[in-house]
Amino acid sequence: MGEFTVHRVRFFHYMPSGICAMAFNRRTERLAVARTDGSVELYSRTDHFFQEKVVPGRQQRSIQALCWVGKRLFGAGLSGEIAEFDLDNLRLKFSQDAYGGPIWSIVCNPQGTHLAAGCEDGTVKLFEILEDQIRFERNMGGQKGRIISLAWHSSGTKIAAGMIDMIKVFDLDSGNAVQRLLVERGSRMQQSQECVVWSVLFLSDIIVSGDSAGKVKMWDVNTGTLIKNHQVTEWDVLTLSVSQDETSLFAGTSEGTVVQFQLLDVVLGQEEKEWVRTRTFKNHTHDVIALAEADTVIISGGMDTQLVVRPLLDKLDFKSRDSSLLKILFPQRSLVSCAKKAGLLLFQYPTHLELWRLGDTEGHGPPGCILPVSRNPEKLLHLKIKGEDHVCCSAVAPCGEWIAYSTTSGIRLYRLQRDNKNVSITKVPKLPKVLRHAHQLCFSPDSSHLYGTTSSAVHVVALTSAGCKFEHSLKPKSGSTHPVRLLAVSSDGKFLASANSNSEIHIYNMHKLKAHCTVPVYRSGVSAMGIHPETNNLVIVHADHQIFEFSIEQMQYTDWSRRVQKEGLHHVWLERDTPVINVTFNPQNPNHVILHDSYMFCIIDQSLPLPDRKSQFHNQLTLKSLPEAERLKHSHAFKECKLYQPLLCVDMLENQSLVVVERPLLDITTNLPAPVRQKKFAT
């Protein structure tokens, strides 16, 4: 197969943000996850929790609660504003101040007509949901004490509000509090501390509360009496979630555990039922702040930035992707762009960009050795973003002379001039007005054009040393308005492929500046794609790990692609739980396709046979031990390498050396805040 020189890069200090709110939409099967940097991510439950869309964050924006109303997503936070997210354009649609101080919680009624927001000033504010906005209707309550959590009864006539040391139940008809449930403070030293009801649930006949004394309490709705008290943890119970049929309940705690309660028969076969604590999952190191229950899985997220999908049907006999624990820690899009000709790396942080030049070596050595670095890598540029919005995409031209980035409020293009030691940067003025904000940016291979996409079109901007000029806008024939996730340009600059979040792929002919064709839509989202530099074949990898190769010139799937579909991919490959992030090619060997996900990179040799069901998929060690003559007999197309992980980027430079950008897990965990202290033996 061959030797590769690998630039192992660990100086991209990517740091994911903690999860602070989640909402699951049962109708569309989408999970919305809000992070502490203000960004919102959308995952598709049906598509192996593939990250479809990301609404970039903004400084000062903190989201405390998310709420789905039909297909609309609302969020509210400590800024005191209620905002709706525009999921087509991936930005805020509008935001409206509730005038009640910081908002801790929002819920919508089961009918989907009203929103209730729990505010710092102790009021529950009701908003009517209109077509394009929300309208304040009235206030409820209004004594001292903030409202931390809210829950709406399924009848829509009552709201339970979790406050400090108590829970109030409001009647919507009268607007008055009809019940006041006092929550006792914790034992021992916590006696003096007030007890915060972090979460309430309003089931058909009971109210469930989770509080800072570490208890999950069940209250009778009619009498307001405490039915059952479960001491779950020494610390706080931060969040609760209930299944749709109200038979199973989850509580997330500060210790990082998720505790399940189930409504079970007291005596088998009899009517009488009781909530029983059944299982405890510990998949987090830090506070579990948000929980969502999606039929057969419980999704949890918290301060340790991981999204954990825990299947509940763990007694399944066969192993599949749906029955195994899934941890999502890394973004499912590339935050690194690589200038292949110039050997530059552009790292995208939320509030700044870094441009690095890779080091060099003159040494040669056998496989496995570390070569002496003759020139150290160099940080050329640290570019701070103007404004409060976070970066949503960025790109560096292959020649390394242009850098572009976009936030939700604007696109900026910079020209970079490098002589021996000095780097100077000039902002290119007068970008075309149509390109106000882009979901994806990319440069043509000869660095003569910049392509930017909005949800409706691909805009083409010509770049010259004098400045830039708008050339054309290409719109898909279907007129779809889904945001574009990926762009791919052929190396001759003739074709541009764009994949949107609805997994449609449009191919444009950039010489004629018109749409060329579309690729048949596959049920799973496009996680990565790339156009082959020689054959102009588009290699597409989907979130379910299916691989297609589409010949752009012949407008049909290639023979290899048909063979893959006919023979089927190996089950080990299909069971991988992180999606492929990037597709790239080996300029020296046209048969090589390089793919990578967070935990491995893989070179597919299209000239070799595909692995059949019985053959060993990870066969690198076996092959290594075989004499050279026998290797070919045992080798198959997938050459997997797990030497480097977790990976944020794998790309191939023009001089046939690989660049891998690693982010060691240890570096992330050491940067997290300290978890709650737990008594361990002899400490």
Binding site: G2, T5, F11, P367, L371, P664
Partner: protein, 715 residues
């Protein structure tokens, strides 16, 4: 190893007139493991729950009727079966309150026993030897019953065993001074008769299935336990001819005066036999014990004194032994583990490779594994061996009266003639006992060399002849003591301690005249010579070598020079005891012991003895610390750990005495220094360990840097 647990009293006995009869005719398992059916020899049958010591049910027949066979429980039908007045079979269930109202039927001949068969219908054995299944008999009670045995024959014992998934009935009948074993099997229908050797009827019998046959254990009134293997023929057919049944001597128990009258043996597994009514070898006669003996090693595994009269009855059921004694029926749970040599000896005497090299031990194969081929040799040698047993008895009688020289000649002839290890093993114990008791009776008689030869034959152990070692001590025969200490694997801590006391209190002058085993002497000589030699060198060139204070041959430590000065650590101290005393003390050090028992006996040492011994141990420790013991090669030498253990034990046992005694002060302070040095060394080692770990970690994390260029190869 076998162990007997705490005894509990199940019920009070209804002792018959004269007190010779326990009043119990049988104990049989009942519905579950925790229940037994106890049959009174008079009129009643009682079911007990053993763990609760509670009667679950009791049935009594009418006055005038007697129960003639122990009641059994038939798990197939959940019914109890008993025979009254020899001919009336009664069957009842738990729910029946009155036995007279239960089912009964009269059969045409006298019944000897009803025997329960595992997983099958019970069998009825008639007094004249005929056998019927209970269900067929009940279906036609008046059916004619044939006579297998002649009229004068008496059945002594009967049992049913499951052999190769088939029930096999066997019983012993005695007639005209001849004991016959009859065996019957149903599928295939077969019967066989065997004549037991020796003629006399055994006191008690017990049988165990083994592959391809049944092992029959018989206890005779002479105190011998014999084993016979009864083959099971695959093919059916009735063999009318009486075949001889060879036997092998398993145990020859000390009986004391007279013969055994009421004793009983039950085989627990293939290596253990429980015996009741046989005297304990070290307790005096007249006391009654329940003992478990290992037949492979002829060692006593566990014993328990039974208060009151023993009736020679013993039953075993579900891991518990039932013994009627005095006025109560006791239940004693027991446990027999698979016997291994190490378990039989308690603790292995000496770790390391020099055990087999010493030549004092023959390598002992795994006993359980060795049985099949041993059995074949046994069979072939049976004839000749029996002859030798006959001669043996005669020989023992001779030894009792012969003079010391004659005894010596006879013993050496005996040991050289009988090459068969097994016979010697059995005989040597008896011979030694005879000699020892004769020595005790006649003060002038002491056949030293004969005893040494016996000990050297390695067939003796402490439990076989417990008085030998004490006798040697009494006679101040220290050479014999040394051999005993070397050879016996099972010396009790008390005896070891009394040896120690005797050695310590004996003057060096007396001891130096004793001829001891040369190798051990050479070892001590080497130790002493080495120290003087080294001292000489030191003076010659005036160089003071840094002494090593580490134990067991580690590298030199870099402690402060002050600690290493000669004055603080008298490693080159003179040997505080004479050469031969040191040799004997070394033997004591190598005796296997259990520290909690030893500690008790160590307390009986006097303060001067303790101090002397401690000084000697300190001397040894000093020598060992200098690595000298590796230069002096010996087959047997105390290990460093043994020395340290003994120091600890001695200090533990006599701490207050040592603290108070002024002459012990120096010694204690030296020992204290030794300990402090050790602690220091270990703390330094701990630090080094920490450093090394840190180094290892640093090496691992060394390759984690921000940037590197590597070469990989994919295949």
């Amino acid at each position: 190893m076998a162990a007997l647990y705490e005894a509990t009293t199940l019920c009070v006995l209804n002792v018959g007139p004269g007190g010779s009869d326990s009043g119990i005719s049988g104990i049989e398992p009942s519905a579950d493991d925790d229940q037994v059916v106890v049959t009174d020899s008079a009129r009643s049958v009682t079911v007990y729950k053993v763990s609760d010591k509670k009667a679950l049910g009791s049935w009594t027949v009418k006055q005038g009727q007697t129960v003639t066979c122990p009641a059994i429980y038939n798990p197939q039908t959940s019914e109890y079966v008993v025979v009254t007045d020899s001919k009336v079979i009664r069957v009842w269930k738990d729910s029946d309150i009155n036995i007279d109202r239960a089912f009964k039927t009269t059969v045409s001949a006298d019944v000897w026993r009803v025997l329960s068969v595992p997983d099958s219908e019970p069998l009825v054995l008639f007094q004249r030897g005929a056998v019927r299944r209970l269900d067929t008999l009940l279906a036609d009670p008046q059916q004619p019953v044939e006579n297998v045995l002649p009229e004068e024959a008496v059945i002594r014992w009967s049992a049913v065993l499951n052999v190769e998934q088939q029930p096999c009935l066997m019983f012993l009948s005695e007639q005209k001074g001849e004991t016959l074993l009859l065996m019957q099997r149903r599928h295939p229908d077969s019967a066989a008769r065997y004549r037991l050797e020796g003629g006399e009827a055994p006191l008690s019998c017990s049988a165990l299935p083994c592959d391809g046959g049944v092992r029959l254990f018989c206890l005779y009134s002479s105190g011998s336990v014999y084993e016979s293997v009864v083959p099971i023929r695959g093919a059916g057919g009735v063999v009318e001819e009486v075949q001889p049944l060879p036997r092998t001597l398993l145990l020859n128990l000390p009986v004391g005066e007279g013969k055994l009258e009421s004793a009983s043996a039950v085989s627990l597994d293939d290596a253990h036999v429980a015996l009741v009514g046989v005297p304990h070898p070290s307790a005096g006669p007249g006391k009654d014990f329940l003992c478990i003996w290992n037949t492979n090693f002829q060692t006593l595994q566990a014993a328990k004194e039974m208060a009151g009269r023993i009736y020679g009855q013993l039953w075993c059921s579900c891991g518990k032994l039932y013994v009627p004694h005095g006025k109560s029926l006791s239940v004693i749970p027991f446990k027999c583990q698979k016997s291994s040599l190490a378990a039989a000896m308690g603790k292995l005497r000496q770790a390391g490779s020099n055990v087999p090299a010493s030549g004092l031990y023959t390598s002992v194969p795994s006993w359980t594994a060795a049985t099949p081929d041993m059995r074949s040799t046994k069979r072939t040698l049976l004839r000749s061996r029996d002859v030798s047993f006959l001669r043996l008895n005669q020989f023992l009688e001779d030894v009792k009266i012969a003079s010391a020289e004659e005894v010596q000649k006879k013993v050496s002839a005996f040991l050289s003639n009988l090459k068969n290890l097994h016979v010697i093993q059995v005989a040597a114990g008896g011979l030694a006992s005879v000699l020892v008791s004769r020595c005790q009776e006649q003060p002038g008689f002491y056949p030293h060399s004969a005893l040494v030869q016996l000990v050297h034959s390695q067939c003796l152990s402490y439990s076989v002849c417990p008085h030998l070692l004490t006798l040697a001590l009494e006679k101040k025969d220290y050479a014999l003591c040394q051999f005993c200490l070397q050879v016996f694997p099972d010396i009790p801590e008390a005896v070891a301690c009394s040896c120690l006391k005797a050695f310590l209190s004996e003057s060096d002058g007396t001891l130096d005249t004793v001829s001891l085993e040369r190798d051990s002497v050479a070892f001590v000589e080497g130790l002493i010579a080495n120290s003087t030699q080294e001292g000489g060198e030191t003076q010659q060139n005036g160089f003071c070598p840094t002494t090593q204070v580490e134990d067991g041959g580690g590298g030199p430590t870099h402690t402060t020079p002050a600690v290493l000065t000669r004055s603080s650590m008298p490693l080159d101290m003179k040997c505080p005891v004479g050469l031969h005393k040191a040799v004997l003390l070394n033997e004591i050090l190598q005796v296997a012991y259990s520290d909690c028992f030893l500690l008790l006996h160590l307390k009986t040492l006097s303060a001067p003895q303790v101090i002397l011994f401690l000084q000697y141990l300190q001397f040894l420790y000093g020598k060992y610390s200098q690595d000298l013991h590796t230069q002096v090669s010996a087959l047997r030498s105390p290990a460093m750990t043994q020395i340290l253990d003994w120091i600890c034990l001695l200090v533990d046992a006599h701490f207050t005495v040592l603290v108070m005694a002024p002459e012990a002060r120096e010694l204690l302070s030296h020992l204290h220094k030794v300990v402090r040095l050790q602690v220091k060394v270990f703390s330094e080692l701990g630090k080094i360990e920490g450093c090394l770990q840190a180094l290892q970690k640093a090496k691992q994390s060394g390759d984690v840097c921000q940037y590197s260029i590597e070469v990989i190869e994919l295949f």
